[in-house]
Symmetry: C2
Subunit: 257 residues, 2 copies
């Protein structure tokens, strides 16, 4: 397998499953670092801060600096601070996202009629009241954007409702489609990863377990792509997908095999 | 204007607006009754019992018996008791709907893995927990049906989030479209109105203020249709609609004019 200057790794289903490292992942990452590769860790999950992901990776034997981790909260906060500095946001989302936004000068407002953006994310405290606030804000001219597109999040034994529910609810009452999603597979997320690595896409490979987010984003950005079969995708699904990866690997171990 | 044996009236925007009768509505209804017409009152709003609507109509000077009122809660309860007697339901909805369901032998269950149907309705106590329960139920094989399709409900000075938000949320996490909506403009609702009037559709007229629910349902059922301009629709919108009514009236007064 070809060697790349930069490796962008999805997390869940790629480097770990729940609380267990994928067998071979710690050794693979150690070997890539030994070879001098640059590494980024990329997750759509906005409900924990980057430091938690870095801590988890280290706990599982995978060396990771907090600066190497990008999740959809960080991408959204950077996107807004770049394109609408100091923007006023009505937030459907959890505290780690609010924290990222505030850190970059975005103001979270309680009054839906006093915002320029409705930012929708995974929110386990989502209520009718928040939904109705979002309706009033968007009727009043606020833009409607979201952190990531995932319908559900895998958990041991099944899956739980993710941001797809909150986006669907707001679309359902406003009759409007979400205008922008900054997380995977958006090019906004690729750009953040390339900035972090300091490399152009054609020197990097995207490694993940999902065709419609990880592989799609990598291909569209001009990166090489490697699908691992340790997560949600089975080998049979590759053939019928429009997002065929360059490599299909039993696990990340194949990157150094 | 032609006389009909049966008149099916939408409520909000047609006979009253908020807490005020549409001028001429009481006299019109009284005259229709004097002529021997049969009357049904039809609302998609599930958050109050039929008795509340009858009481409100009487308070506004419009004679109405509770048996003449059909709302989307009643239609859903009758539909389920007819097609799935004793069914077990996980409910996203408010107490008046739960009450109608229980009255007809439908069991409301708290465990999403113990239901055959997820019934989705307007629920001002909607939460993430209910959304996630609906996901688990539908993953487990439960059918996904809803009382009515309205995105919003008009209120003085604006509109508030209606069942469209709850349907959108569940569609957003399951990736499945709602299988059946029993309220307007469903033929299930027309059938309930025809049963109530004891008349065939071609002897009846549907009177309402919405093209895409009231007029559509009336036309599809083979009823005559009269659009009133006292609610959400303006005359200019009629031309471009696929649901052109037989009559466009300034108000219900035109029915006897």
């Amino acid at each position: 397998m070809k060697r790349y200057a930069g490796y962008v790794f999805d997390l869940d289903g790629t480097l770990y499953l729940g609380d267990h490292a994928i067998p071979g992942a710690p050794e693979t990452l150690a070997e890539l670092r030994r070879r001098g590769a640059r590494i980024a860790f990329l997750s759509n999950k906005p409900i924990e801060p980057a430091a938690s992901y870095a801590a988890k990776l280290n706990r599982l034997g995978i060396q990771a600096a907090v600066e190497e981790v990008i999740n959809s909260s960080i991408v959204m906060a950077r996107y807004l601070s770049r394109t609408a500095p100091g923007a006023r946001v009505y937030l459907i989302g959890e505290e780690p996202l609010a924290e990222e936004l505030r850190k970059r000068g975005i103001r979270i407002v309680a009054d839906p009629l006093d915002c320029e953006y409705v930012v929708v994310s995974w929110d386990r405290q989502f209520t009718y009241q928040k939904l109705n606030d979002a309706l009033q804000a968007i009727r009043n001219g606020a833009r409607f954007i979201a952190t990531h597109p995932d319908r559900t999040c895998p958990v041991p034994g099944g899956e739980v409702a993710d941001v797809g529910g909150m986006i669907g609810a707001v679309e359902g009452v406003t009759g409007k489609k979400v205008e922008l999603i900054t997380g995977k597979p958006s090019p906004i997320t690729v750009q953040e990863a390339m900035n972090l690595l300091g490399l152009p896409p054609d020197q990097c490979i995207m490694v993940g377990d999902r065709l419609e987010t990880d592989m799609r984003m990598g291909r569209e950005a001009g990166m090489a792509t490697a699908l691992v079969l340790t997560g949600v995708t089975r080998r049979e699904q590759v053939e019928s997908s429009p997002w065929k990866p360059d490599y299909v690997l039993e696990s990340v171990r194949g990157l150094i095999g």
